[in-house]
Amino acid sequence: MKKIFQHPARDAKPTLWRTQGELENSAEFNESLAREFTDAASGREPGEGLSRRDFVRLMGAATALTGVGLTGCRRPEAHLVPFAKGAEWTVPGKFLFYASAMPTPAGAVPLIVTTSDGRPTKIEGNPLHPLSNGSTDAFAQASVLDLYDPNRSKEIKHDSLTVSRGDLDNLLAKIRATAGSNAGDGLAIIVGRENSPTVERLRAALVQQFPKILWVQDEAISSRGAEEAFDVLFGAGARPACDVAKADVILSIGSDFLNPAESGFGFANGFAKRRDPKGSMNRLYVAENHFSLTGGMADHRLRVRASEYGDFAAAVASAVAAKTGDAGLKALASAFKGTGVTFDPAWIKGVADDLLSAKGKSLVLVGAQQPAAVRALIIGINASLGNLGTTISVRQTGAKPAAKLSDLCAAIKAGSVKTLLILGGNPAHTAPAGLDFANLLARVPETLHLSLFTDETSKVTHWQVPAAHYLESWGDARSLDGTVCSVQPMILPLWNGISAIEILASLAGEKIDGPSAVRATFATYSKDASDAAWQTFLKNGFAAATAWPLSAPAFNQGAALAAVQSAKGSASGEFEVVFLRSSSVDDGRYANNSWLQETPDFVTKLVWDNAALVSPADAKALGIKDGDWLRITAGDRYIDAAALIAPGHADRSLSIALGYGRNGVSHVMEKVGFDAYPLRDSSALGYRGGVAVKALPKDAYVFARTQEHENMEGRNIAREGTLGQFREEPNFASEMDGELPKPVSIYPNPPLTGDLQWGLSVDLNSCIGCNACLVACRAENNVPVVGKDQVRRGRDMAWIRIDRWFASADHREESLEMIPMAVMCQQCESAPCEAVCPANATVHSEEGLNLMAYNRCIGTRYCANNCPWKVRRFNWFDYNERPLDQLYYGPLAPKGMADSLKMAKNPNVTVRMRGVMEKCTFCIQRIEEARIGRAVKAGASDVTKTPLPAFKSACQQACPSESIVFGNINDPQSAVSKAKANARTYSSLAYLNTRPRVTYMARVRNPNPAMPGADLVGAANRRNEHA
């Protein structure tokens, strides 16, 4: 008997959608629904004459006729090579864990690095560290691939000739000798911002020895402007520390504070703790020009152009001042000269009133790229709200100012720089275009670039020195709160890499021996410098009580007023271009990392590209569609970039991510995106007004977006409601299923007899959509990268797909919301995929796992066809064995993986070959390790009475907001059982009765009834129900 499913009808105009086509109900979208897969994912190449199947049929016959030779009849001889001398702690096949940290400009990410047989293979957060809850971000997860990248710079070169380490040492000795004779005159050093106490100590030593040295600190996307403002407002070296967990009401004006790359580690967790609707839930207002992670979490969101953030802040300041009668704030607000634009008074009043109702427990934040005037206004508002000392404290970092890149350029022009050592960054590519840095470099008689890759800067310096990755060098770095974290080498430098600390130490005349430089610094900040204290530092990964002490900030009204008065008004109405930090390649530093290139953008879901984001209204005005070319002209420079329509984007505003469009560095970066750096100017690093935009009559550019795949026909998969709704009816989400059919299933019901039963819960209320789980899964499970062309054909392999739903109950841009939703294999108890597998390659375990036996799979793809969630991934090619540009080569073409990439693989997970289906396994290798660990511990006793060793799935471990919970649902005390018992829990596609082991907790928004459009917040599902 054929079961007929009563699928919910699809709205002609849905209130929740993922793609523009879905919203508009376009012909292409409807055609894509009618098919199970996109063209290529069903094996049909677009627009080919002889179909692929026909070709395979012919080739099959030909192969059969030419005979299948019995090749390789001899047994291949394999060798087992034990150590000659046993290595300390090493047990072959067992993981070893070391504490370390990844230095980033925003502060160190504290880590626990997993090494297997001496190779670092996986990275997790360090749960001991006060700021970390054991989580990481996507960049830290992917950094292990950078270590093994075969494109890394490998040799020391001088004027393109390979030289030895001795030559480099001679050079450094010569520089030191010269500097000693002329007090460092003509010596300049550029460092990145790595927050390393050792680099700071060596800097002090160098400045002491060579007082005339020019010490430059440069980051492409820098918070320098903000820091200079803080120096003025709070005193030199004082930096604000915001505690989002303490704030009841948060207003973010263009601040993507939930994104760890932007604002440092530790915000997402504090924020998520306040999103539980059963506790005291906070409220988030966001005013921003493009949808950011933070904007997606907003309860109320307003589209504001980046150049008008100041006006918005002034409007809020006036409204607050009017209510409180704070003359100081009033003076600040009226002194501000912006574009003169006005905002919806009801919005401003609603925000101001709400902030005032939470005096001392509110928080107003602004993006790091805003000018000092706007920052001073924001501090003024916070001061007036009584937030200074409660939600905002300051930390005295003791940071000493360094010269800027523009100072260096002036010195080079004056001819006073004779030797330039670039020990961080890629300034020839990232420097503001007005500086003409690449050409200025040629004027310096001796230049040296230390870098992981032979990049744009290395090509124009005399010396190129391969840098050591942070996983292969000694170092230290302060995390956001100032706690000093240790950076330990996990492996000897693979390609003779040298760390910046080694170079600086030899310049300062220090003998380097392993950790000696770091150890010497340790003695300066640690009360106890003994061997035992040092060992504890390395073991824990950080030195306790080294955080900068918190103190209540004093508000300097005079300085703030002076800063606000510095603002120059600008004209409103012209286009602006906003430079974004890419969620995939940061400022371009990860452009060579294919895991990250294939990680979709948070919002646009674009891979292997960036795009000029335009609002739907602007797109209409310009007459463009997705992929059409724009010429963006700022001053005397222009770039051509393809446009992408971004719902929720501010009008008369463009956003473009930096770090793309690089050529001639490595094949990974070729033909990837558009370089936006030429549009930047020293005075406009974050955004630039007065931009001219015109559409170019060129063929549309083809983007690859993961969100276009596998549509779900608007079946209330992502669910949200409001706090009021939750309090009335806590289980509103599962109620949306209405009357479910009787729990019968056409699919098999395997016996679930195991004492352990695995399940997973995703809390949509705390999930910010940061991609950490996705990259963690890729690293843990050896998931291959397929390249832009294959993604475009719908063949991406990521086991976790983060759906980004747009929701709007009335289809207006003003009420647009975003819901990220991680979708992995749902591990259905009655799995549709298992019933259709002809080879029994996907079967059920008694512990409720939907297993995938790769070696049995014959690649019919029936299972993927029958999966309602479309989470099964098929290996169309030998993605592991072939370079991405040679996938279509014949069977005799060379195959093989770079040796260094083999080292990055998790030895406990099979590397899949061509023709095999794969999908999320709930990290079965970790489950099995835990089960084995329990059995080993039990030994000759009852195993069921032995506790299971604690473990997490890779996605759960990486999640910064703890929204993914995995575990044994048979144990009522487990975290996952408790999560599943939550009233907000629902199953997606529950009416299919497949009983997924993955459940979701609905998102709850906390709208302010006094705000305009409050009735539309969190209402998309309700509208959907009634339609």
Binding site: V91, P92, A853, I927, G939, A940, D942
Partner: protein
């Protein structure tokens, strides 16, 4: 019209049948037998770089397996000993310190280069076997590796095929031993009945429930 088929064609079906039986059957049976690990794997006895004799070290000298394979109880892999382990007894001025047969060991110790032992027991890459869980839960080395204590040159004693694994995973009572006899290669139950009784007792007491689903070994 003459007959289309000549007369001899009447015998063609029978001839074909005989042909299939005579040629086809041996091929089928041949593949059945010769292409299985039982034939291709069992008895594999490659030359090793050092003629190490288990018979001498274990049987005659009474060394425990774990002196060399020291991590077998804690790790998935049962490690081969580092050269250092050999040198403990065969180092300078010790046993046979000048024997030419031990030259590769001394060479390895001097240069730090490992000894390239030839692998005998080899599972496919997609099968994950864990030694620790087996030896801790009553499975002896003997069950998979045979009487290594009597081999002067080690060979593969069992097929290590999936069916062979499952035979034990489905009925572990036929192989479980007292924990004290795991590494005793000379311990044998007096009869199959005794083994079954003992095994069943352990299986129930320890709740031995080896996985028989794919996920137990394939990840």
């Amino acid at each position: 019209m003459s007959n289309f088929f000549p007369r001899w064609a009447n015998w063609l079906p029978l001839q074909l049948l005989v042909c299939v039986l005579v040629v086809g059957a041996p091929i089928t049976l041949g593949v059945w037998y010769y292409f299985t690990p039982k034939y291709t794997r069992v008895g594999y006895q490659p030359d090793q770089p050092v003629p190490f004799s288990h018979a001498l070290h274990v049987k005659q000298l009474g060394m425990d397996c774990r002196y060399c394979h020291s991590f077998v109880e804690v790790a998935g892999h049962s490690n081969l000993p580092a050269t250092q382990t050999c040198i403990n007894c065969h180092g300078e001025g010790k046993i046979l310190s000048n024997s030419p047969r031990l030259a590769p060991v001394r060479e390895s110790w001097k240069t730090g280069q490992p000894i390239p032992w030839v692998q005998i027991h080899r599972l496919p890459d997609y099968a994950y076997f864990n030694h620790a869980v087996h030896v801790n839960r009553g499975v002896s080395c003997y069950s998979c590796h045979g009487a290594v204590n009597e081999m002067s040159v080690v060979y593969e004693a069992e097929s290590l095929s999936m069916k062979w694994c499952l035979d034990c995973h489905r009925s572990p009572e036929n192989f479980l031993r007292p924990p004290s006899e795991i590494f005793n290669m000379d311990w044998h139950p007096s009869s199959a009945t005794e083994q079954r009784e003992l095994g069943t007792k352990f299986k129930e007491e320890w709740k031995v429930n080896p996985p028989v689903n794919c996920g137990g070994c394939h990840r």
